[in-house]
């Protein structure tokens, strides 16, 4: 750690002067005044010296953040860097223990979510807070519906305005649709429409593209441009570097709850940013592995489902990493959940080591050594209100207990062993999983399944929403597992990850196997062509 930005005192000392006064921005490399800063107006919203502690963890340690009108500020940092905590402070969900929030230069407090919303701060979260049973129009205007005579809701006006806003962002959604009937991408559009409806001055986007397909992401970028032109200050949180460099104007880096650096995005390089985030350089993103698959472990034959997938057949060998690529909605997760016994397929068979097995429930799947790390960590992967050690031992209780009676010492021992293998960061093993950052929650889920000593592990979008450091660690760990003889299925929508990790890739399109690729056939072009069904894909 020599010459790294952390050693630069400028980043950690209190800001010498608000940027609005000097028109200067401190730069990571301690550059001097920024010529272009002179014309820029001062920040709409600024955080200074914000401190937030939780039992056993200092989540934020005097961080600084400034958001400027008409500009996108990317907040980057690894999981656990304090990004989500900052968002919760800005939206009035958490109260800071120290420091100052300034709106247009004057100190403010947001004691409630309502107060933050009234101050013009709106957030589009990772898990967007909308109401499934209300219509799109009602969702857009919930809490601030246009009123008619006698203070009653002006339904006609509400629908008309909703349609106006939706049209404005190019969303072809009927305002009368119930939200429940929309896909994730459309829900995001509704959330954005909602943000536009409240005269927001500051829009916070927390991993907005995580669940979107390529085309939807392009549309989202266009929306961000619109918001910029409308003079909104945008806080953009993302782990995807290409999008940060594409749409952000400024960046702010946090690491381990501390402010590291900020500056203009066109004055910083890809590698510099990574170094600031992780405090070290990440050399090889994907581990080199010598693929040496052994005997066939898993054989799936003719898996069908009335609506989700059709005719899925493949084999998987020991030590092999099999990638499943496809667009969102191609039926990959649905197939994996059927293989894991969550849903029943209408036809198809599974055999392990050549012997047919019947999997009617996840319990059966686990018994036969097939485990599944789901994409939806909070709902399916972990039981967030239970302690870490109980999450880890949940599927292994038969092993840690004696005649059905719990043995705490054994449970702690098992949890300690596997959380250490995954380098979990937590205050204690009896802390609730919900108190951990996303990356650490994912580690708990993976630890839980490894503790069952599985033969086949299915990882569904294992690095979604995880920072670059943890990502590399997950990749290295996957390679290690395969080297130890575990058969790995990886569902991923990230082309570099699919190419970098898989020995073989099955591309799915509209519920069917579009292609099985390996060796020289594995290129970004072939993946995209098969996934999208473009003619001449075989070339």
């Amino acid at each position: 750690m020599t010459g790294g930005p952390r050693d630069d005192p400028a980043g950690r000392l209190p800001r010498p002067m608000p940027a609005s006064v000097t028109g200067m921005q401190m730069h990571a490399k301690d550059m001097t005044a920024e010529p272009r800063g002179e014309t820029a107006p001062g920040p709409v919203l600024a955080l200074d010296g914000i401190v937030k502690t939780f039992p056993g963890v200092r989540a934020l340690d005097g961080v600084h953040l400034a958001l400027h009108p008409g500009e996108v500020t990317a907040l980057v940092g690894e999981n656990g860097a304090g990004k989500s905590t900052v968002v919760k402070i800005l939206t009035g969900i958490y109260q800071p223990d120290g420091g100052e929030i300034r709106l247009d230069g004057s100190p403010v407090r947001f004691p409630t979510a309502q107060a933050a919303s009234e101050a013009g701060i709106t957030a589009i979260h990772q898990e967007t807070v909308l109401f499934d049973d209300l219509t799109v129009a009602e969702n857009i205007f919930v809490g601030h519906a246009p009123r008619g005579r006698f203070g009653l809701i002006d339904w006609r006006g509400l629908k008309a305005r909703a349609r106006e806003i939706l049209d404005g962002i190019g969303a072809r959604i009927d305002p009368d649709t119930r939200l429940r009937d929309l896909g994730i991408a459309s829900k995001h559009l509704v959330a954005i429409a909602r943000a536009l409806s409240v005269e927001a001055r500051v829009v916070i986007m927390d991993e907005p593209t995580a669940a979107l397909s390529h085309k939807e992401i392009e549309e989202l970028y266009e929306l961000v441009e619109q918001l910029k032109r409308a003079g909104k200050a945008i806080l953009f949180i993302s782990h995807k570097f290409d999008e940060i460099f594409r749409i952000a104007d400024r960046y702010t880096v946090f690491r381990d709850g501390a402010f590291i650096a900020e500056g203009r995005i066109d004055e910083v390089g890809h590698d510099d940013l990574v170094k600031m985030m992780v405090g070290r350089s990440v050399d090889a993103i994907f581990p080199a592995r010598a693929a040496d698959p052994g005997d066939t472990v898993l054989a799936v034959d003719g898996f069908c489902h009335p609506t989700e997938f059709d005719g899925i057949s493949f084999t998987l060998r020991r030590g092999e990493i099999l990638g499943f690529y496809g667009l969102v909605g191609a039926g990959r997760s649905e197939f994996m959940q059927a293989l894991f016994g969550i849903t029943a397929p209408s036809a198809g068979s599974v055999s392990i080591d050549g012997a047919p097995v019947r999997i009617a429930s996840p319990a059966d799947a686990v018994r036969h050594g097939i485990v599944y790390v789901p994409e939806d960590r909070g709902r399916q992967g972990a039981i967030t209100a239970l302690p870490i050690f109980q999450n880890v031992t949940l599927p292994s209780l038969a092993r840690t207990s004696r005649r059905g009676f719990l043995r705490m010492a054994e449970e702690f021992a098992l949890a300690r062993e596997y959380t250490a293998r995954l380098d979990l960061r937590a205050a204690a093993l009896d802390a609730e999983v919900g108190t951990l950052s996303g990356g650490n929650q994912q580690k708990v889920v993976i630890a839980k399944w490894l503790a069952t000593k599985p033969r086949v592990i299915i990882l569904d979008e294992p690095t979604k929403g995880i920072d670059i450091g943890s990502k590399a660690a997950v990749h290295a760990f996957m390679a290690e597992l395969a080297a130890q003889g575990l058969a790995v299925i990886m569902v991923s929508s990230e082309i570099p990850e699919v190419l970098g990790m898989s020995d073989r890739v099955i591309v799915m399109r509209e519920g069917r196997m579009a292609a099985e690729l390996h060796g020289g056939d594995l290129t970004p072009e072939t993946l995209v062509r098969h996934a999208a069904g473009i003619e001449g894909a075989a070339a």
């Binding site: 039992p55 056993g56 109260q95 894991f340 969550i342 429930s361 996840p362 319990a363 799947a365 686990v366 599944y372 789901p374 709902r379 399916q380 992967g381 972990a382 039981i383 967030t384 209100a385 239970l386 050690f389 109980q390 949940l394 599927p395 209780l397 038969a398 207990s401 059905g404 009676f405 719990l406 702690f412 300690r416 959380t419 250490a420 293998r421 995954l422 380098d423 979990l424 960061r425 937590a426 205050a427 204690a428 093993l429 009896d430 802390a431 580690k443 839980k448 660690a473 997950v474 290295a476 760990f477």
Partner: protein
């Protein structure tokens, strides 16, 4: 991921179990129980009498037996409002059997089997048909008691043999009734099942996140079905004790008990939303409710006022910690 930080060791616990227990709901509730006991002993000269206190335990023993099973059911995120009606149906079945000359062992078997059958009926509707338990058991609440009314009308069954009524009236030793002994034995059994077994752990997992529990390989429907069976069985046990104690069966037997049982469970600190709670809490709550009813009874307070008092107690005890934390955070701000 052993490349970095293998030197880090995560401690098992930040707080010792004792520290955690000290700050728990159960401790607060125990303090309330002691306070009520002290208040009662000042309020009435008849309170501190072994036989009077022993009589008082009948106010809660039968309800508490159901409350133990109900606690598990509520922790798993379900509820059974038909328990009092199961008592009515089981008691009616036993009464009918007495008329054709059944003895105590047969009567007990009938009571328990009817309880199990009712529990199985609820369980099938909830777990296999996928219906919400609150709706199902409101329905079976009317159904089970309705059958008892059809059979009995305004009549009553009586003539229970003494070796059967012993289960409601008998004493094991001095002032210690059979029901009290059974209450403690069942408390122990349910406490061990919930807190010390794999089954109990899966009950908590299901209550906190049924989807996550399913994805962790827990047989969610099987566990829930067993819990409905257990609740039905415990209603059958309560039916045996209550019928024995009263020595007769009317269709209105145990009317309104379902709400008292749920009150006991919630007062004991079980989250009505599922996921948390403990058997010791329910045991203390049973004593609190029994002591309050008994103390007010000694003061000749009418029954309707007692239920007002129980209601206020429930709201008060549940609101107190929230008011406390709110006041504290206000003081800190």
């Amino acid at each position: 991921m052993s490349a970095t930080g293998t030197d880090r060791v995560i401690p098992d616990r930040l707080q010792s179990p004792f520290q955690r227990r000290l700050k728990s709901w159960e401790t607060l509730l125990l303090a309330v129980a002691v306070a009520i006991f002290v208040l009662n002993s000042f309020a009435s000269p008849y309170f501190l009498n072994a036989w009077n206190l022993s009589d008082a335990t009948f106010n809660f023993t039968e309800k508490a037996m159901i409350a133990f099973a109900m606690a598990l059911l509520v922790i798993s995120g379900e509820i059974d409002l038909s328990v009092a009606s199961i008592i009515a149906l089981a008691s009616t079945a036993m009464g009918a059997a007495v008329q054709i000359g059944a003895g105590a062992p047969a009567l007990i078997a009938i009571g328990l089997v009817v309880g199990l059958a009712c529990g199985a009926f609820n369980g099938v509707l909830v777990t296999i048909m996928g219906l919400p338990s609150i709706v199902v058991t409101i329905g079976t609440m009317s159904l089970f008691r309705g059958i008892a009314y059809i059979v009995l009308g305004d009549q009553a069954y009586g003539g229970y043999p003494p070796d059967f009524t012993w289960f409601g009236r008998g004493y094991v030793f001095w002032v210690i009734s059979f029901e009290l002994v059974l209450f403690f034995a069942l408390a122990l059994v349910f406490g061990v099942v919930l807190h010390k077994t794999n089954f109990g752990r899966s009950v908590y997992a299901i209550g906190n996140n049924p989807t996550g529990a399913l994805f962790s390989g827990i047989r969610v429907t099987r566990v829930k079905f067993i819990l409905f069976l257990l609740t039905g069985l415990m209603s059958g046990v309560a039916a045996v004790c209550l019928t024995g104690r009263l020595g007769s069966t009317r269709p209105s037997i145990a009317q309104g008990w379902e709400l008292e049982v749920v009150t006991m469970v919630v007062l004991g600190g079980v989250s009505i939303l599922g996921g948390s709670g403990s058997i010791p809490g329910v045991v203390i709550a049973a004593f609190v409710m029994g002591l309050v009813t008994f103390g007010l009874g000694l003061l000749n307070v009418p029954g309707i006022v007692m239920s007002i008092f129980i209601g206020l107690l429930l709201i008060g005890v549940i609101a107190a910690p929230r008011i406390w934390t709110r006041l504290r955070s206000r003081a800190a701000a």
